[in-house]
């Protein structure tokens, strides 16, 4: 079915509700949300900290680390490092923990659909 067509046949709709209530799906949702929500809060606070320090803690940000390289530059580069690291962590997490359950559910749904 497509997103533009009117409501699907009842059997389809019932199947989705059934899957949504299944143990596998509950586990999938919990696993995924358990990673993406805390991680979103974490990177947002980490970024907000950087912006707030840039605005209000100029003395600290201006401290020299090595030569002309100061805390502000290191902090900024750490935002790059954390972005790359979170992207890598998520990709590893998703392919190990999320994809297998998602595939299993999608496969079962397809089989049920073919049988119906």
């Amino acid at each position: 079915m497509t997103t533009d067509t009117p409501a699907p046949a009842t059997s389809d709709a019932e199947r989705y509700v059934e899957v949504q209530r299944s143990e596998d799906f509950t586990r999938l949702r919990k696993t995924l949300r358990g990673f993406i929500f805390p991680m979103t809060v974490a990177f947002f606070l980490w970024y907000a900290l950087y912006v707030i320090l840039s605005a209000y803690a100029r003395g600290f940000m201006d401290t020299k680390v090595v030569g002309h390289i100061n805390v502000a530059l290191v902090f900024g580069l750490l935002q790059f490092v954390s972005t790359f690291a979170i992207a890598w962590l998520y990709s590893r997490f998703a392919s190990r923990r999320v994809d297998p359950i998602a595939d299993k559910i999608a496969h079962e749904l397809k089989e049920k659909g073919d049988a119906a």
């Binding site: 699907p8 030569g67 992207a87 397809k110």
Partner: protein
């Protein structure tokens, strides 16, 4: 030749100008050939809107980079760093971190549950007509703001990049005529790319552009670093010395969150403004329609994930290059020479290219060659971005408004695609006219406004839609219109539009909102509107939510 005589030499010999135009024409010829090839592969609506969903994660990652790294990123951020030092870097960090929102919360779920446009997901479990109308209004508003900023930018750049100075002419055109000609040419080309090539053609244009931009920026970065024996600290030191601002040039505070002596109130506003800009940059990206539709060009959610990972790598690397380019321009060209060419610093990167060419490629000719290459890359950048924006808005107009609102879903694929092509033509024409009217105004703020609208209206609607069971039609329309109106109204009454020396209308004053960036108010307001709109309506469709949730998380039934 010293870098400060940038472009002056061409009054004598036209090497750089001829070469820039030749390289640009080669780019146009190649991309038009690709577009025509792509048009032969474009048969179905899925081909036109989503490039047949046939691109790989890497290809789409490059194309996302091509869509995202606009002239504002390349010329704008390099210029900001060259003139204001560290604060330009703050901008690029916001643009990069933003991709985590897209990666973690939006890309895969959108790919699994949508078809062609942002509204496919928003309207999935809602009443189609009100939600798709709202989504089309917001998509077109965001895209047109962005388009005008890019096209006016292109017009302003052409005179500088081709060295048409007051009093001189080029092909019989003075600087003003060249600006108008450029805006019309850019508009005409983007209409051709989109109407003829559809998403497939546009995607290849983005890939070619991303490759050229990354290569050009990488080459310049290596040359800048080589100049300083690959010692970052001595590059920074030279930039600070040459800026005339000393160590302050390497610290936050010259451009954003400026501390005004004896004016505690203005200092406070400036600092809040910095935070407001920061959150709009981070939350805006995942609500930009021309970025969202890119996720439909790959076959699966896993490929969408891969494309965001590639995009993060490419865009992150690019912003690290701009750091070297900006500080390199400050050190090797100097702030005064840059300001002399363009007060906003947009010519810092091309000027740096010329200086590096003189040093490394052998004298004036080398300078002219590298300048020409980078100027042509800058034009390619603008062209690719405007094509992406035109495609996003014409897709929404055809698929959301025409097919699902006007025709209530009763239309053939062929008709829909024809309407999309006509829309691209119409939107292109409207943008050309608006850009011609706006060309003498300071419209650089329009990009930041587009991000603010995307973050305030689109993002709340998308996140509620994907994650909140209770969310409904009323909530979706409230979120989109609420966020959109709040952002636009606040900017209209802000210092960027009136009441300040740098305003768009500097001789009028109806300003009462103290910040340049509305995000800190309009983003929470958009989320609040979505919540209020939802709870005041009884509508809820648990079955459709079950379907959306199962499909978005598992990929079952994906298009």
């Amino acid at each position: 030749m010293s870098p400060s005589t940038f472009l002056a030499a061409e009054a004598g010999d036209n090497t750089a100008r001829t070469l820039t135009i030749t390289l640009f024409l080669v780019f146009v010829a190649i991309t038009l050939a690709i577009t025509i090839w792509a048009s032969r592969q474009t048969k179905t609506a899925t081909d036109f809107y989503a490039g047949g969903r046939s691109f790989s994660g890497f290809q789409n990652g490059m194309a996302i980079g091509g869509d995202y790294m606009s002239a504002a990123s390349f010329l704008g951020i390099a210029g900001l760093i060259a003139l204001y030092g560290y604060d330009g870097f703050l901008y690029s960090i916001g643009f990069l971190v933003a991709w985590l929102v897209a990666l973690l919360l939006v890309a895969e779920l959108l790919r699994n549950s949508g078809k062609y446009t942002m509204a496919d997901v928003l309207a999935f479990r809602m009443r189609q007509r009100p939600v798709r109308t709202a989504a089309a209004v917001s998509t077109i508003t965001v895209s047109i703001f962005y388009l005008i900023a890019q096209m006016v930018g292109a017009g302003a750049l052409v005179a500088l990049l081709l060295g048409i100075r007051p009093g001189t002419t080029f092909l019989g055109m003075d600087a003003d005529a060249a600006k108008i000609a450029t805006i019309i040419l850019v508009g005409a080309l983007m209409i051709v790319y989109v109407t003829v090539g559809g998403m497939k053609g546009t995607t290849y244009v983005q890939i070619v552009k991303a490759f050229l931009l990354m290569s050009g920026a990488a080459l310049m970065t290596v040359l800048v670093l080589a100049k300083f024996n690959f010692n970052l600290s001595s590059l920074l030191g030279a930039a600070a010395d040459s800026s005339g601002k000393g160590e302050a040039f390497l610290e936050p505070g010259l451009r954003y969150g400026v501390e005004v002596a004896d004016n505690a109130k203005q200092t406070f506003y400036n600092k809040v403004d910095l935070f407001s800009l920061g959150i709009a940059l981070v939350l805006g990206t995942a609500g930009l329609p021309h970025i969202l539709i890119r996720f439909y060009t790959v076959p699966t959610a896993r490929a969408a994930r891969k494309s965001v990972l590639w995009a993060i790598g490419i865009i992150g690397t690019f912003y690290l290059f701009t750091l070297a380019l900006g500080f390199g321009a400050a050190a090797l060209v100097g702030g005064d020479a840059i300001r002399e060419q363009d007060a906003a610093g947009n010519t810092a990167a091309p000027q740096l290219a010329e200086a590096l060419g003189v040093d490394f490629l052998g004298g004036d000719t080398g300078g002219a060659v590298l300048l020409a290459v980078i100027a042509a890359v800058a034009f390619a950048t603008i062209l690719a971005v405007v094509a992406g924006l035109t495609l996003a808005s014409s897709s929404s107009l055809a698929h959301d408004f025409y097919a699902n609102v006007v025709k209530r879903g009763q239309t053939s694929e062929k008709q829909e695609v024809n309407v999309a092509r006509i829309s691209a033509f119409g939107i292109g024409a409207v943008s050309i006219v608006l850009a011609l009217f706006a060309q003498s105004l300071n419209v650089a703020f329009l990009v930041a406004l587009a991000f603010a609208v995307a973050a305030s209206g689109n993002l709340p609607a998308i996140l509620y839609s994907l994650f909140w069971k209770r969310f409904n039609t009323s909530g979706a329309t409230w979120a989109i219109y609420g966020g959109l109106i709040a952002a636009v109204v606040l900017v209209f009454f802000s210092p960027v539009v009136s009441g300040a020396p740098t305003s768009m209308f500097k001789n009028s004053d109806w300003q009462w909102f103290p910040l340049n960036n509305p995000g800190i108010i309009s983003i929470p307001f958009g989320f609040l509107c979505g919540w209020i709109g939802t709870i005041i309506s009884k509508e809820t469709d648990e079955q459709k939510y079950a379907e959306l949730e199962v499909r978005s998380l598992t990929g079952a039934g994906a298009h």
